[in-house]
Amino acid sequence: MRIDIQRKSFGGSDVLGRLRLDIRRGQRIAVLGPSGVGKSTLLRIIAGLDRDFPGSVGGDERLSVVFQEPTLLPWRRALDNITIPTGCDLALASDLLKRVGLQDQLDRFPRQMSLGQQRRLSLARAFAARPDILLMDEPFASLDPDTATRMIDLTGDLLDHSGAGLILVTHEAREPVRLAARPLLLRGDPATLHEDGQTI
């Protein structure tokens, strides 16, 4: 898919400058940058949640999102939280729940689960949509270091297994290393993408 953003502004001031990025199924990219630089804005644009900008985001790839918060349906049980949004079948849903270690939690409501479990459920949901490219918005933030490491490894396994690509937005430099993702830096005002000190 091709992402071509001329700029993105909020209330007259540009947050993102000219950005161009190509990504294919199987490629892994990490967008690094400090808080408030516009990483989440960029991810929302790529996910199609924000179309109010000059430029285009195009391609046939199927996308799926892991949000910063688990963003589950509190009134639906774990299994339904996978099948309802993604429309996937029960077999795939139970298989994914097993992979993220939630096979005993199928009938639980989200608030009966710990934050770590909710995040794994959200990860399983994202893979249930059979994405070509997975979009992740700081999904490991606010987890304790051990849980975060386990989540990162789990994400890596699921990416290997499904062959999906990845655009990960984070401010933690160790995450792209562990996930073998190509690190790009988002910085400046308005922010642009940089790789090895070069603007791209």
């Binding site: 199609g48 999102v65 309802i84």
Partner: protein, 246 residues
């Protein structure tokens, strides 16, 4: 327990007032009213007229909830719709129920359609306002999630939007049903030839207070039963997911 004691206290007060007034025609005691209640129950009169009233209550309730929920959802979601419809809504909220009823009977005729429509029109603005507030409080993060996963409109409405609106729908329903049956009685009083309101009209003409009280109490009991048997269990079922443990 205090609830039961309070009911007993009210009953005692009634007996005392009836004794003091010593005028069974204008202030009949509970035993006279109970006798009438028994009479209209065994003759079957109660079931026919209460049934007609209940039918009107349910029909106008269903109409008011359906239209009110749809309008509230629309106005809560779309700024344009809200800006265009809000003045009409404010006016509708402030038109007296009696005016709507009289106009409906004049314009549509003294028939069932006019009666049900008049009651529904009285209730729709209230439901709309409650649902508009509920819709404005919908969680934007779940909206994003539904968009990101390309959920269909129907699935979105059923699994994302309606569960969030359920407490508002339930509140509107419970507030609605008690308002509606009171308006239905007025509608029947003014222009129907059956129903509890019609009976009260007849009894009012003959100044039969015991009869009026008997019919009123009977219908209060019916509406309370609906609240306890239908509405409360439904509300409890909808909020199951809020509990920590099953």
């Amino acid at each position: 327990m205090p609830g039961i004691l309070s009911l007993v206290a009210m009953l005692v007060l009634w007996v005392v007032v009836a004794r003091i007034s010593d005028d069974p025609r204008t202030m009949p005691g509970p035993e006279a009213v109970a006798m009438r209640l028994w009479q209209i129950t065994v003759t079957g009169e109660l079931w026919f007229h209460a049934g007609m009233t209940l039918f009107r209550v349910l029909a106008s309730f269903a109409l008011a909830m359906a239209v009110g929920v749809a309008l509230g959802l629309w106005m809560g979601r779309s700024r344009t719709a809200d800006q265009w419809l809000n003045p009409g809504l404010v006016i509708a909220l402030n038109v007296p129920a009696l005016v709507i009823i009289v106009l409906a009977y004049i314009w549509i005729g003294l028939n069932e359609v006019a009666a049900i429509l008049a009651v529904a029109l009285n209730k729709i603005p209230v439901v709309t306002v409650m649902l508009r507030e509920g819709t404005r409080a919908l969680r934007p993060d779940l909206d994003d999630m539904a968009t990101a996963f390309r959920m269909s409109r129907a699935a979105r409405l059923r699994h994302v939007v309606m569960p969030q609106l359920a407490p508002h729908v339930a509140a509107a329903a419970r507030a609605g049903i008690s308002l509606i049956w009171k308006i239905v009685l007025v509608v029947e009083f003014l222009g129907r030839s059956n129903g509890v309101g019609f009976k009260i009209h007849l009894l009012f003409s003959s100044f039969d207070v015991a009869g009026v009280l008997a019919w009123a109490l009977a219908f209060v009991a019916v509406m309370l039963a609906i609240d306890i048997v239908v509405l409360r269990p439904w509300e409890a079922r909808l909020s199951r997911w809020r509990r920590d443990e099953d």
